[in-house]
């Protein structure tokens, strides 16, 4: 079942429709409800290598639906601690639970000050309203 639209409090958002859950010097990243809805049911997650690094505002992976491919843009920079194996095996997990079981990677933050550039839920929702 597809999730219903939400942008939870406590997460930070990027204009390329990604979210970050900051926990100390680590963060969990994923794509927002809006992104998964625009793509439709996901059938493939081209994940980055564990141990690699990602840089803010650049692509670190791909998600694909039957009809479309989309790059996943990093909201923050850092080292990849873990790739979500559940999404690699069952990409539709992202549609079912984009902010929970459907997370994509966990990273160690390279530059915690980057968090200041991200949007809170209200600002992201205003940004979506302008799309």
């Amino acid at each position: 079942m597809a999730a219903s639209e939400s942008y939870p409090d406590g997460l930070k958002y990027h204009r390329e429709h990604d979210w970050a859950r900051i926990e100390g010097d680590e963060a969990t990243l994923g794509i927002t409800w809006y992104a998964q809805d625009a793509l439709g049911e996901l059938v493939h997650y081209e994940a980055p290598e564990q141990g690699g690094t990602i840089s803010k505002d650049t692509s670190y992976g791909e998600v694909e639906s039957v009809k479309a491919v989309s790059e996943v843009i990093a909201p923050l920079s850092g080292e990849i601690l873990e790739v979500n194996p559940k999404v690699v095996d069952a990409p539709e997990t992202v549609n079912e639970d984009p902010y929970g079981d459907g997370w994509l990677v966990r990273i160690r933050l390279g530059d915690p000050s980057e968090v200041d550039d991200l949007l809170d839920p209200e600002s992201y929702k205003s940004f979506l309203a302008e799309q």
């Binding site: 049911e41 059938v43 493939h44 081209e46 791909e62 039957v66 491919v69 690699v88």
Partner: protein, 352 residues
């Protein structure tokens, strides 16, 4: 900005929450509930598609058969009134201007259902060759076409079983329709040709009878699983029927446009062939991806039934045998695939 054409069912699609896209100059539903559930509805039960964007041409007159025999690849003499046939409109080089279904309405009257994107090209082509004693007209603006497909489709519509590639005039819940036993999904079913003004009523009756509304995305994944070619992807004016594996719809013993070239390709053996493949690595092939050693993907998707990437591609004849290994360049990454016998998906026996 170009104005998109709308079918008579446009408001119905919007009310059902369809995602609408631009396709061949039309605003069409690409999906409703989701491509995977729509696809599975057609494989297991019954789905309905609005394919009113497709073109309908009528050719009639005492010399209509003579005209079409000279232009279409398949042999019309095999058809009695009430029969339909899959055929190709070919050019002088043996390339494919369009693939279409011809319906023999009467001895000297035919209906051609053609691809939306080729409607004008096909009409102009046939008009150009029109001979005295034949008349070609574009009837596309009068008709809508609804495809109802799936193992339970005929039962849900209350229609008797009939031979594939036949048609009959009939009535469905009070609406007059031409019931064609044709389709683009590999399942049993029908395509219902209806006057535009009756299309919405017919659509409502079909959904009331339990068909799931399905969009163009599911239509594409369904046809690709059973390796039906898509004009513009797998077959084009630049590809010939023999290399595309469509020799079975070419009556090479009769004369039609490009037949000499097709006989030559058949005699010499094609240099490249349109094959079906399944991904061995986890990746989704897409149109235009290059294949190692030569060739390219012409259609690719994720197969909802097999849950892997699948596709069709032209490859060199020596790499075209089933089980041959292919390497596909997926945005710079080499990914393994394996040539398979067509169709890619086949229902297991006894599971209908």
């Amino acid at each position: 900005m170009q104005t998109l054409l709308r079918t008579p069912l446009h408001d119905r699609h919007v009310a059902l929450g369809a995602r609408m896209v631009s396709f061949a100059g039309w605003e069409m539903p690409v999906s409703y509930a989701g491509v995977i559930s729509e696809h599975k509805a057609v494989r297991s039960d019954c789905g309905a598609f609005d394919v009113s964007h497709m073109g309908e041409l009528e050719v009639e007159g005492p010399r209509a058969t003579e005209l079409l025999q000279a232009l279409l690849s398949n042999d019309l003499e095999r058809l009695e009134p009430g029969d339909a046939q899959y055929t190709l409109l070919t050019n002088e080089q043996g390339g494919i201007v369009d693939d279409l279904i011809v319906y023999r309405l009467e001895r000297c009257r035919y209906f051609l259902i053609v691809n939306a994107s080729n409607r004008d090209a096909v009409y102009r082509w046939i008009k150009e060759y029109e001979i005295r004693g034949s008349e070609v007209s574009d009837r596309s603006d009068d008709y809508s076409l609804l495809a109802v497909q799936g193992p339970r489709s005929l039962a849900r519509l209350g229609l008797p079983d009939a031979k594939p590639f036949t048609f009959a005039m009939g009535e469905l819940d009070g609406v007059e329709v031409m019931v064609n036993r044709t389709g683009y999904t590999g399942e049993i079913g029908c395509e219902l040709l209806v006057m535009n003004e009756d299309a919405a009523a017919l659509w409502d009756r079909i959904l009331e009878r339990g068909a799931a509304p399905c969009g163009l995305a599911a239509r594409d994944t369904l046809r690709l699983e059973v390796c039906y070619p898509l004009h513009g992807n797998d077959i084009t004016t630049e590809t010939d029927a023999i290399s595309a594996g469509l020799g079975w719809v070419c009556a090479l013993d009769k004369d039609f446009t490009g037949v000499e070239e097709l006989r030559r390709v058949k005699e010499a053996g094609p240099e490249r062939k349109l094959i079906a493949f399944v991904m061995e690595d986890r990746a989704i092939p897409r149109q235009g991806m290059p294949i190692g050693g030569g060739g390219e993907v012409t259609s690719g998707t994720h197969s909802p039934m097999l849950d892997v990437g699948v596709g069709m591609a032209y490859v060199r004849a020596e790499s075209s045998a089933p089980e041959s290994e292919l390497t596909i360049d997926v945005r710079g990454k080499p990914r393994k695939a394996r040539v398979v016998k067509k169709p890619i998906y086949k229902r297991e026996e006894g599971t209908r």
